[in-house]
């Protein structure tokens, strides 16, 4: 009876392309697998670069939940990476905890801090929320510098053992790479599952229109808070992974440059997409390496490449391969 309002039917042309988008959407994943495979086979320096990319990908996945799915802004997620990283460093290197236990303790501490900070901060909106969260990162940075009895200040903490369970430590480059890939893929899978769930729809709703979300009974404040806690959890895990893979943490590791780097990764890869954090982390980590031959002009070439990416793929590289920007 209401068909008079439905004039167009986009169903027909979309069907015929149904197989190809699935293949094309797989391309970013294929590219990631190729780079990862190369790193596993070659080892050495490429393996180190890819290891870092995978650690960043976990961090960026969290940022993606808060910024991409819920459309909020946080410049302070580095605080939670610092809390996770320092918890792992202090508990294992100083107190001899099991790495996994230390990582779990860091996770609990990060989410606890995120809850304490998030409750008042998330009442802010837009630029104010951005400024508020920027302060969180700066405060934690200052604490890591000044609380020398615990953190050893600028010197940082070294001698952090590699990750492992009981007597089994992951020592080899390859073992580490595979472990990190598993964690990064788990982060991507978690994002995909969240996005396709009632929780993900609630986040997309508050991202689209807070008023419309409220009108449908969605407790907007509660879901923003939840997204903030999840992002803090991912950041904390990536901080812990960094500590164990490098064996060393210092305040600079989790400083403002981490915020800038991960933002770049999120936007280059594709904010709000599933493959985006991984693609962005890989591309932004590998680009400077590709321009190594440019010597003095390396930073210039890197900068130019980023600008070109943002011009030709403004919604991120992974959206180039997906229908309607849903990679």
């Amino acid at each position: 009876m209401t068909n008079s309002l439905s004039t167009t039917s986009p169903e027909a042309p979309r069907r015929s392309l149904a197989v190809r988008p699935a293949l094309i959407a797989g391309l970013p994943w294929l590219a990631l697998a190729v780079v990862f495979g190369y790193a596993v086979v070659v080892g050495g320096y490429p393996a180190t670069v890819v290891s870092f990319a995978l650690i960043y990908a976990v961090f960026v996945s969290g940022l993606n939940l808060f910024m991409g799915l819920a459309n909020q802004v946080s410049f302070g997620q580095n605080a939670f990476a610092a809390i996770g990283g320092y918890a792992s460093a202090i508990l294992t290197a100083t107190y001899g905890f099991e790495p996994l236990l230390a990582m779990l303790a860091g996770l609990v501490a990060s989410i606890g801090c995120a809850a304490l900070i998030g409750y008042p901060t998330l009442r802010l909106k837009g630029h104010y929320l951005a400024m508020g969260t920027l302060a969180i990162g700066l405060i934690v940075y200052e604490i890591t510098v000044e609380w020398q009895s615990l953190t050893q200040g600028y010197l940082g903490i070294s001698g952090i053992p590699p990750i492992g369970i009981g007597p089994y430590e992951v020592l080899s480059d390859r073992g580490q790479l595979i472990l990190l890939a598993v964690v990064a893929l788990a982060a991507a899978l978690a994002t995909a599952r969240i996005r396709a769930s009632r929780l993900g729809r609630a986040l997309a709703a508050l991202a689209g229109s807070e008023d419309a979300a409220l009108a449908l009974g969605i407790d907007v404040t509660r879901y923003k808070f939840l997204a903030f806690l999840m992002a803090a959890g991912f950041a904390s895990i990536s901080g812990s992974l960094f500590a164990h893979v490098v064996g060393f943490v210092s305040p600079e590791v989790f400083g403002l440059h981490l915020v800038i780097l991960t933002f770049t990764m999120l936007y280059v890869g594709g904010i709000g997409t599933i493959a985006g954090p991984l693609v962005g982390a890989f591309v932004v980590s590998l680009l400077p390496e590709m321009f190594r031959g440019f010597k003095d002009y390396q930073d210039l070439a890197y900068g130019a490449a980023l600008i070109l990416l943002l011009i030709y793929a403004p919604r991120g590289l992974s959206t180039l391969f997906a229908a309607r920007g849903r990679a």
Binding site: T2, S4, L5, S6, E11, G208, D211, L216, G217, V220
Partner: protein, 273 residues
């Protein structure tokens, strides 16, 4: 028992009284329309009912319970769902997913359900999907289910917003100018749709400028002007009410009443900016 009662509700913004001592009852069955000139306070009334604004004075009673000043998401939980004058769709989601969001209150899955997908969560998700598709069929958007919400034409976006609101199974549905921007055929189809929603037992309260839609759809009409209720009754009765003709058909009246009408128009202009 009435579905909704407003008891001496007032709302002022600084010195401006947007809603002034308004009382009315909405019965459980049927469609009620609130009409009135631009800036008469209709949308403010909706915001007061749905919890987006808190009344300065007075009470809002839904199904015998006082919901005055309750937060919007809690008002929605009680069964009052509104739409917006300017359509507010979730732009990143497909047509189908927009309607699925409307099922929020009738599902319970959280983070654990999302990550682990236990059988109960899968079942819930299937139910949400089935209900959403059913509603898309009801408003005639099945063919566009997978399309991005923003790819729809304006009239279809309005239908989608209505399907999304219906997904929440409201007992009171508030439609803010549902026919704005629709052509005559679309408006007629919308009228039939609203009637069938009401026949299904959902109380419908709508704000509308399109008098044809109001006359064809509403069982009961409330007229507001300058934040006050000036008339109430059947569409036919309201149509003949001299106070309504003076206020609502201001421009026609103005030509005859001359100076007085111009004066009223100026006051209206100054008051509402």
């Amino acid at each position: 028992m009435s579905r909704l009662s407003l008891k001496n509700v007032s709302k002022s913004f600084g010195g401006l009284v947007a809603v002034d001592d308004v009382s009315f009852d909405i019965v459980e069955r049927g469609v009620t329309a609130i009409i009135g000139p631009n800036g008469a306070g209709k949308t403010t009334l909706f915001s007061l009912i749905s919890g987006f604004l808190r009344p300065s004075l007075g009470k809002v009673v839904f199904e015998g319970e006082d919901i005055t000043g309750l937060a919007p998401q809690l008002v929605a939980k009680r069964g009052v769902v509104r739409t917006f004058q300017l359509v507010k769709l979730f732009a990143e989601l497909s047509v189908l997913d927009n309607v699925k969001v409307g099922r929020h209150l009738h599902a319970s899955g959280g983070l654990v359900a999302a990550l682990l997908r236990p059988p109960a969560a899968r079942r819930e998700e299937r139910e949400v999907e089935a209900k959403a598709r059913e509603l898309l069929a009801f408003v005639g958007l099945v063919a566009q289910a997978e399309a991005p919400a923003t790819s729809l034409g304006y009239g279809q976006q309005r239908l989608l917003e209505m399907a999304r609101a219906l997904a929440a199974e409201p007992r009171l549905l508030l439609l803010d100018e549902p026919a704005a921007g629709l052509d005559a055929a679309e408006s007629a189809a919308l009228s039939r749709l609203i009637r069938s929603v009401a026949e299904g037992g959902t109380t419908v309260l709508l704000i509308e400028h399109d008098m044809t839609l109001v006359m064809n759809t509403a069982d009961h009409v409330i007229v507001v002007d300058f934040g006050r209720k000036i008339a109430e009754g059947s569409p036919e009765a309201v149509r003949r009410d001299p106070a309504v003709i003076a206020a609502y058909l201001g421009s026609a009246h103005q030509a005859r009443a001359g100076e007085q009408g111009v004066q009223a128009a100026r006051v209206a202009e100054a008051g509402r900016g």
